[in-house]
């Protein structure tokens, strides 16, 4: 049967945008006789394979060329790919405006093949992400040999038949026995989709209800179990009654806590029983990642005093198209920044904004998100018809408005809410690790910097764009540009400046005038007619988190210049965004 190829659209876009003759490898997975390419990395010494979910592997290479392709080199590289007999080769002709041609390699021959472009949201509807967590403790002698040996032993131990997995919400256990009964708690061997779609347990389901246009991933939680009694699947070794071995050798030992936290990408239609080996692979992958990071950490750092335990974080940059899992040791900001930079470079990602800071981590839903602020409600807003250049906020923000978290700020809290929306943007973009400040924190901050008297805390006094600027600067270290206009009419002429802000910075803007505060999420500027429209997020909304109401009643929507009060002056706070990763 002929293998089909699907390629995630952003891969092709990224390759078309390259300016040098890059070469690298393509990540993919295999489903229904189709190779699905969903990521890429440059060829260098860093192998990032332990950072991608289990079941994602190298399925091909890409190479930019300007004159002639080096066929031998391509064949040699492809020969190293062992998960498929027909690896994919994407050829990028630099001299022909980066035209990308998809080839398949079979029997040492390169032949062009058609491919289908898919979007991330279409692609991931075919998959579940399974997130496996558990705790392990590694003890090793603190030298290279000791570390390698200990990790090796731990991996050997885990694959020796003692590992089992539990689907906590279902009370189902997958044990590694090689017979039919290795699913405990469920009859037969259903597909993964059968098990999870009906039960409404995967976390994507709730999200879909109110944010249609956003990429939603179905994530299943699984926990790591260890069998401590013998059964048929145990590898037979010589058994004996417990003995106590006392070894009085003194040496230095490293106790490394390992929070296992690892992802697998699984076909919805796979049988549940097939999950066992995939999960086992994902633990092993996670351990290898830990080991690699530990080695590289010890090259640059001394383990002195208390060093916090390494942290596992998952990232899903939309620019990347797949999950990247990082194991992060406590180290200097400079080292972390260098690591992030090289990761950006490796994955051909822009260094203009952060994607792999702690705050960028993927937020797995813990329970119900129904009462949480909506993310990016403007994605559901109908397009404008101004025919101009549209520039919108980049990335994600949370919609803060009146009366959230059981607080009645109706009539005075609108600028606070707009400030919270701005702060959420900085958090969700990864610039700040800080949670969105509460009203009290905002007020206290203004008192602390001497802008307001102590009585301001817990008062119901409103704030304006100047205060918003102060707080963003003090709590988040963000500087803002302040734009003044003397009347609502004058706002109509701010098109170029606002376009520039959204292009360069992409952060939401807080605008205050008279007694009202709003958030500007974007503009539609028609250069020919001079017409300007504003995408407004209105903090005066007092209802629940209902996207339909918010969009249909215009709490988030496009407004003309007549939205502004002609007799009032306005101040805008434009948060400036640093260019760093």
């Amino acid at each position: 049967m002929i293998t089909r190829i699907k390629i995630l659209d952003i891969i092709i876009k990224k390759l078309q945008a390259t300016k040098e003759s890059y070469c690298g490898r393509l990540y993919g997975t295999f489903i229904d006789n189709t190779i699905v390419l969903l990521g890429l990395q440059l060829d260098n010494n860093n192998d990032n394979l332990y950072s991608v979910p289990a079941e994602v592997d190298f399925y091909g290479i890409f190479q930019g060329y300007s004159d002639n392709e080096d066929v031998d080199e391509i064949l040699t590289k492809c020969a190293k790919i062992d998960v498929t007999d027909t690896p994919v080769y994407l050829a990028i002709n630099i001299s022909d405006s980066n035209n990308v041609v998809c080839n398949i390699i079979s029997n040492n021959k390169i032949s062009p093949i058609d491919y289908e472009l898919v979007s991330a949201s279409d692609l991931y509807t075919n998959f579940f992400h399974v997130r496996l967590t558990g705790n392990l403790l590694l003890n090793c002698e603190i030298n290279e040999k000791g570390i390698i040996e200990s990790f090796l032993n731990l991996r050997k131990d885990l694959v020796s038949g003692v590992t089992a997995f539990k689907l906590p919400k279902l009370n189902v256990i997958l044990s590694g026995k090689n017979n039919e009964n290795d699913i405990i708690g469920l009859p037969g061997d259903p597909t993964i989709a059968d098990v999870f779609e009906s039960s409404d347990l995967s976390e994507g389901n709730q999200k879909k209800k109110y944010i249609e246009k956003q990429l939603s991933l179905d994530v299943i939680d699984v926990s790591l179990l260890r069998k401590v009694t013998k059964d048929e699947s145990s590898i037979e070794e010589k058994k004996h009654a417990p003995v106590v071995v006392l070894d009085k050798k003194s040496f230095e030992i490293l106790k490394l806590p390992l929070s296992i936290d690892t992802l697998s990408l699984v076909n919805r239609n796979s049988k549940l029983s097939s999950l066992y080996n995939i999960l086992l692979e994902s633990v092993v992958k996670n351990l290898r990642l830990y080991e690699a990071e530990l080695h590289s950490y010890l090259k640059n750092n001394n383990l002195q005093g208390k060093v916090g335990k390494p942290e596992v974080l998952h990232f899903f940059p939309e620019e990347c198209g797949h999950f990247i899992t990082r194991v992060i040791f406590e180290q200097s900001e400079e080292q972390s920044r260098r690591e992030r930079q090289s990761l950006h470079d490796l994955l051909l990602l822009s260094r203009q904004y952060p994607l792999f800071r702690r705050a960028n981590r993927y937020q797995f839903l813990k329970g119900n998100r129904n009462n949480m602020p909506l993310i990016n409600p403007h994605k559901a807003v109908k397009a404008t018809s101004n025919g101009g250049k549209i520039c919108l906020v980049k990335g994600k923000y949370e919609y803060y408005h009146y009366c959230q978290n059981k607080m009645d700020d109706n009539g005075w809290g609108c600028a606070y809410r707009s400030l919270q929306t701005l702060a959420s943007w900085f958090k969700l973009q990864g610039y700040s690790d800080r949670e969105v400040p509460t009203f009290k924190e905002i007020q206290k901050c203004l008192v602390d910097i001497g802008d307001k008297p102590a009585s301001f805390v817990d008062s119901r006094q409103w704030i304006g764009s100047t205060e918003v600027n102060f707080v963003l600067n003090t709590l988040l270290g963000v500087t803002s540009k302040i734009l003044y206009v003397s009347s609502g009419d004058e706002l109509a002429y701010k098109g170029p400046e606002l376009i520039n802000h959204f292009e360069q910075h992409g952060s939401p803007i807080m605008i205050g005038g008279g007694v009202l505060a709003h958030t500007i999420l974007g503009v539609d500027y028609n250069q020919d007619s001079g017409d300007l429209k504003f995408l407004i997020l209105d903090p005066h909304y007092t209802g629940g988190e209902d996207l339909n109401t918010i969009v249909n009643k215009g709490w988030c929507g496009w407004k003309g210049t007549d939205f502004w009060d002609k007799t009032s002056y306005y101040n805008m706070c434009l948060p400036q965004v640093p260019r760093e990763v």
């Binding site: 558990g134 392990l136 401590v228 004996h240 417990p242 050798k249 230095e252 490394l256 060093v307």
Partner: protein
């Protein structure tokens, strides 16, 4: 709170024959409480007591004439040592008394002090799980009027209650649960804490094993069971499939039910920091504990889970205790690398009721060596017809010898603190607190 007790006729036969030889005797009632009922499986007459002085001077044993002559601590120690042999879920339920005195109406003060002593000693020891209730069962039999009567006595509230004790032809069914629990636990000795008795460190390790066990997830025949369910449902309810199940379990009655214990690794607490420690050595406990437990069919799954955990801990604690007791001062000093080999568990089928109890054999001992303790503690005289399963296996010590010296090319030598069967000395008797005092010989492996 149990008000009913039952036992099979062999027990009645045992107790009614005692007056042929003894005017007054006391002994232990062994069994299980489930669904408000005492299920008695065995009576074990306490051996005659003789103090050290009389023993030395070679005086013959004097038979007791009255209950007031019973030595409390002697009987209590009998209860403690017998409990060590019982699988989890079985207990010393109380005492039987054979005497023509009227001891139950009114409740004899000697009985109160005896039962209090037993309750105390059974409650003292960690991981013995000797008392599952403060209420003790007493059965009195008088050879003169050939009548028996039973009561319970609550050592906490001091209240005495009547019990309806019935001897029947065939008691209710027992179900068996089996598992092999594997231990591989490494404990690091802090540099400044590496001295001091090994015993102390082992206690910490036992605590840690116990807490892991307590958080374990338990499956029966590879399936989840509701803790409220009664175990006889394990046989009755076959997998009437939800959908197309191929899980039809052919349960042969009396086939043991496999217990699987799983640890949720997420429940293991991890330190918040990477630790770098200078250690003064390490202790590794490695091996398997074979567990076989027996339950009346009306027992709940929850009770079985608890009892299986208790069985494993009781067995582990018993064997390390026996091991320490067998060592000399120097051996306990643990200044040297060594492999300690505590005795292994063997299972002995009680002749009358099929339930298995445990005995512990030191390295080099074989099944024939269980005879003595069986006779001493359980009053079972065997004629070579005992069914003994020696399942746990003995260690090939050299494997650990290589582990700890082979690769580090250490100069250390690893003596094995265990065994030379020819040099065993047994003190079969209850005068000392030891079941068996085992003097081990340090066996240097120099040049091996």
């Amino acid at each position: 709170m149990a008000r009913y007790a039952e036992g099979e006729n062999y027990l009645l036969k045992y107790i009614t024959e005692i007056p042929n030889d003894y005017k007054c005797a006391v002994g232990l009632i062994l069994g299980q409480i489930s669904s408000q009922k005492y299920h008695v499986i065995h009576f074990a007459k306490t051996p005659q007591f003789q103090d050290d002085e009389n023993k030395k001077s070679g005086k013959p044993l004097e038979t007791m004439k009255s209950i007031s002559e019973v030595n409390d601590s002697w009987v209590a120690d009998h209860a403690r040592q017998t409990t060590r042999m019982l699988p989890g879920g079985l207990h010393v339920l109380g005492l039987f008394l054979v005497t023509d005195e009227d001891v139950l109406n009114p409740f004899h003060s000697k009985l109160r002090s005896l039962l209090t002593a037993i309750n105390k000693i059974l409650g003292q020891q960690n991981y013995l799980f000797g008392n599952n209730t403060n209420e003790k069962l007493i059965l009195h039999y008088s050879g003169k009027n050939k009548r028996y009567q039973a009561k319970t006595y609550d050592v906490a509230s001091l209240s005495v209650q009547p019990v309806d004790f019935k001897f029947i032809q065939k008691g209710s069914k027992w179900m068996t649960f089996e598992c092999e629990y594997e231990i591989d636990h490494i404990y690091y000795l802090n540099k400044n804490d590496s001295e001091g008795p090994l015993k102390k460190h082992i206690k910490v390790i036992l605590d840690s094993i116990n807490s892991k066990l307590n958080r374990g997830l338990i499956l029966f025949d590879n399936d989840f069971k509701d803790v409220e369910d009664k175990i006889d449902n394990l046989y009755k309810k076959k997998k009437t499939a939800r959908g197309s199940s191929n899980k039809t379990v052919d349960h042969v009655e009396n086939k043991p039910i496999l217990v699987t214990i799983l640890e949720e690794t997420a429940l293991h607490e991890l330190p918040d920091t990477i630790e770098l420690i200078n250690i003064g050595g390490q202790i590794r406990i490695v091996g398997q504990v074979v567990s076989k437990t027996w339950f009346n069919s009306k027992t709940s799954i929850g009770e079985v889970i608890q009892a299986v955990k208790e069985d494993i801990m009781r067995s582990l604690a018993t064997r390390v205790d026996m091991h320490w007791d067998s060592l000399t001062e120097e051996e306990l000093g643990e200044e040297i690398n060594s492999v300690h080999e505590p005795p292994r568990r063997v299972l002995i089928t009680l002749p009358e009721c099929n339930v298995t109890i445990s005995d512990y054999l030191f390295p080099g001992e074989g099944p024939e060596d269980v005879k003595a303790s069986l006779e001493e503690l359980l009053d079972i005289v065997s004629h070579g017809d005992l069914e003994v399963s020696d399942l746990e296996g003995q260690t090939d010590i050299s494997q650990y010898y290589q582990d700890s010296t082979g690769e580090v090319e250490s100069e250390d030598i690893l003596p094995q603190i265990a065994t030379d069967p020819n040099k065993f000395k047994f003190f079969l008797g209850l005068g000392t607190a030891l079941l068996i005092l085992f003097i081990s010989i340090i066996f240097h492996l120099v040049g091996n």
